[in-house]
């Protein structure tokens, strides 16, 4: 419980404790990740939970970071695209499949799409193309590269190796 408009708390992001000092109590997780912690892989687009560009995992579940009050996420395991991606700069099988299958023009949706797809593959190994279409309905790609995304995720779901 806080007694002022400014709050200080610790977030566990990609396995590391990150101190957030003197933030407004109403700052979203997306704002804190991008503006205070410098983790700009997670994108802002709609701010209303429709586009999925800000998808992160909290305790393993995909959620929209733009709809989270950051101060409420103390003590939870937050994973962003920076933490999902291998630290040596290589790509996961899911990321490789997306590079191979998807012709994106701008790439803005990709971090959210990857985080959403990674959770989907973990949840539904062997997901069909239909399952993938339904499962990724919370991620919009305005370049409309959906066919490639569905094919990439379906392949990885069939192989059972997202990360």
């Amino acid at each position: 419980m806080s007694d002022s408009e400014r709050v200080t708390y610790t977030l566990t992001v990609n396995g590391a404790d990150r101190r957030v000092e003197d933030a407004w109590y109403f700052e979203t997780l997306l704002e804190v990740l991008r503006n205070r912690l410098g983790l700009t892989g997670t994108k802002f687009a709609c701010g209303t939970g429709q586009c999925g560009a800000c998808t992160v995992h909290i305790d393993g579940l995909p959620v929209n970071a733009c709809l989270e009050l950051a101060a409420l996420d103390e003590g939870r395991q937050i994973t962003t695209i920076e933490g999902y991606s291998p630290s040596d700069g290589s790509l996961t099988p899911l990321q490789e499949a997306i590079v191979t299958c998807v012709d994106v023009q701008c790439g803005y949706c990709v971090p959210g799409m990857v985080m959403s797809a990674a959770a989907l593959v973990a949840e539904q190994p062997g997901a069909s193309a239909e399952d993938v279409r339904e499962g990724l309905c919370g991620n919009l790609c305005r370049c409309t590269a959906y066919g490639g995304f569905v094919e990439a995720v379906r392949q990885v779901a069939a192989d059972g190796s997202a990360s």
């Binding site: 806080s2 939970g49 709809l67 989270e68 409420l72 309905c137």
Partner: protein
């Protein structure tokens, strides 16, 4: 912007925080409240109910489902009895938001968020749900329809929605909707039909066609009296009259999503089909 963030750890604390900070907004999953914040609605303080364990949980006890107000849509879907493909809850929650939204959106937010576009509310109305409410003066139970409102909900100042309850053993049920897309959007219009077999009654609720989701009693009477309960059939004439009465009960508005005529037509067709499909599936 003013206000503070309160994070009560129990129901008693939550009721006290809500009473002591009347300007602070209750936040359940945040999928509405934080979206409003991003749209520029100024924050006046928040009381987050996330830490209130008593409000979570989905359980079946003595033939009654009890859905905690803080149960997420994902929690409902994780219960295979509650959310099988043959239940209206299962059908509706599959179309509610995206996976990301379902991990946060709650039963309480659907009921208390207000409006006529909530996906779960018509289903709960057709299931004849009651709601448990807790406040500074104690707790009470009331019909779901009594608390629905075009904006927010009709609770006494200081009260918090604790749970939604409904009988588990009813009968076949259907939820249909039309919307701008197949998922992750609000329904333009929706219908939920439940066959209450023990009482030989049909219950119909409509979404998107009145200031809140509503029941359609005249259509229910036509359906209950018109179906052949012994042979488990319904004639085309009864189904058509049921649909027409559903359209009659609708009082929709025209807006940027759809015209009133479209919404009225949609509930007529969906109510008619839902009734027929329930019986066709029953025989299959």
């Amino acid at each position: 912007m003013t206000g503070i963030l309160l994070t009560p750890r129990g129901l008693e604390d939550a009721v006290a925080a809500h009473r002591d900070h009347p300007l602070a907004q209750l936040v359940a999953g945040g999928t509405d409240v934080v979206a409003d914040l991003n749209r520029g609605v100024p924050a006046t303080g928040f009381v987050s109910l996330r830490g209130v364990a008593e409000l979570r949980g989905v359980e079946l006890r003595d033939g009654q489902w009890r859905l905690g107000a803080m149960a997420t849509i994902a929690d409902l879907r994780a219960n295979s009895d509650l959310s099988s493909a043959s239940t209206a809850v299962g059908q509706a929650t599959r179309s509610l938001g995206s996976r990301q939204i379902r991990n946060r959106a709650t039963v309480g937010g659907n009921v208390c968020g207000g409006g006529n576009h909530r996906t779960l509310v018509p289903v709960l109305l057709a299931l004849d749900a009651t709601v448990d409410v807790v406040g500074p003066e104690g707790s009470r139970s009331v019909a779901l329809s009594e608390v629905l409102a075009p904006k927010g909900c009709r609770l006494v100042t200081g009260e918090i929605l604790a749970a939604v309850q409904f009988a588990s053993s009813v009968g076949p049920q259907r939820f249909y909707r039309v919307g701008p897309r197949n998922a992750a959007c609000y329904a333009t219009a929706s219908v939920a039909v439940v066959l209450d077999e023990p009482n030989k009654a049909i219950r119909l609720a409509l979404g998107g066609v009145a200031p809140t989701a509503i029941r359609a009693p005249a259509a229910e009477t036509i359906g209950s009296a018109g179906v052949d309960w012994c042979n488990r059939t319904v004639t085309d004439e009864v189904a058509a009259a049921f649909g027409a009465a559903a359209a009659e009960a609708a009082d929709p508005v025209s807006d940027f999503v759809a015209s009133a005529d479209y919404r009225r037509h949609a509930v007529e067709v969906m109510a008619r089909r839902a009734l027929r499909h329930i019986f066709e599936e029953d025989r299959a």
